[in-house]
């Protein structure tokens, strides 16, 4: 039987460094979409709290405990990263999304300026704090954006868009750096 080699979405595309901006792929582990059935939000939250120590995330928020993360992913939906959900049968619709997304970390002092060129949202730290997340658009792509640190964001896009995602971010970073070089 053929030996199949697992390829991550951004293999061969990252890492990339432009000036002080670095783009690196994020190893997420298993990813599952969790959408509580009607009227089961509290029950789902209670099970998650018991099993992984996290409640179902509120709108526009991401929460983490150890290696497990829950990222709000749209109306009535969240993504669980780092572990497979257990005990939610009959309470929520669950879909395996492992490998479906390209997930990268963009980091650097100028990161807000770079993202401002591509995302039509106010992502400054006064408004968009660590642990805040948003479903929005980056250039023409639907993405999930989460602030994971003072100068760091995590961006998730559909795997088929991996090349475009890296290209757009790299171009934006080059633009910001070129402008800064002019003083």
């Amino acid at each position: 039987m053929a030996r199949l080699i697992a390829k991550s979405a951004l293999m061969g595309l990252l890492p990339v460094t432009v000036g002080g901006i670095s783009l690196t792929e994020v190893e997420t582990g298993p990813v599952t979409s969790i959408a509580p059935f009607k009227g089961q939000s509290r029950a789902v939250s209670a099970v998650l709290k018991e099993r992984v120590g996290l409640r179902f995330p509120p709108v526009n928020r991401a929460v983490a405990a150890g290696d497990v993360r829950l990222i709000w992913a749209g109306k009535g939906r969240a993504l669980m990263l780092g572990a497979k959900p257990e005990g939610l049968e009959g309470l929520a619709a669950m879909t395996d999304q492992t490998g479906a997304n390209a997930v990268l970390r963009i980091e650097g002092e100028a990161v807000e300026d770079v993202l401002a060129r591509l995302i039509p949202m106010d992502l400054r730290s006064t408004v968009f704090k660590t642990g805040h997340t948003a479903r929005t658009m980056l250039a023409h792509m639907q993405v999930s954006v989460t602030r994971v640190g003072a100068d760091a964001f995590e961006i998730m896009a559909m795997r088929s868009m991996a090349g475009t995602l890296v290209h757009d971010l790299e171009q934006a970073a080059k633009g910001v750096m070129a402008r800064r070089a002019l003083g």
Binding site: V59, G74, K75, P120, A134, T136, Q142
Partner: protein, 96 residues
């Protein structure tokens, strides 16, 4: 133009797709007759002023009823389509 998503908050218009006149929520009964159905399917006002229509927030998957003004381009507010009833004065509801 910026539109308030009842779930996410105020977002750029590019994140949304226009759906239909909010009248689409007022579906007539099956036996309402040809006139009512003809009206529901085909006849629309073309107002200069306050307008209510359905917008889909592509980013989060929410259908919203948005109150806006076609003359001033002001967007007054929005509410969840699943709870809204077309025709009721819901202007300014939701997160504006």
């Amino acid at each position: 133009m910026r539109i308030p998503c009842p779930v996410c908050g105020v977002r750029d218009r590019r994140e949304f797709t226009w759906g239909a006149d909010a009248l689409a929520l007022d579906r007539p009964a099956v036996d309402a007759g040809e006139v009512a159905w003809d009206d529901y399917l085909h006849n629309r006002e073309n107002p200069a002023g306050p307008t209510r229509d359905l917008w889909y927030h592509d980013a989060c998957g929410t259908w919203a009823v948005v109150d806006r003004d076609t003359v001033t381009h002001a967007v007054h507010g929005s509410s969840l389509a699943e709870t809204a009833r077309a025709g009721k004065a819901a202007a300014g509801k939701g997160r504006a």
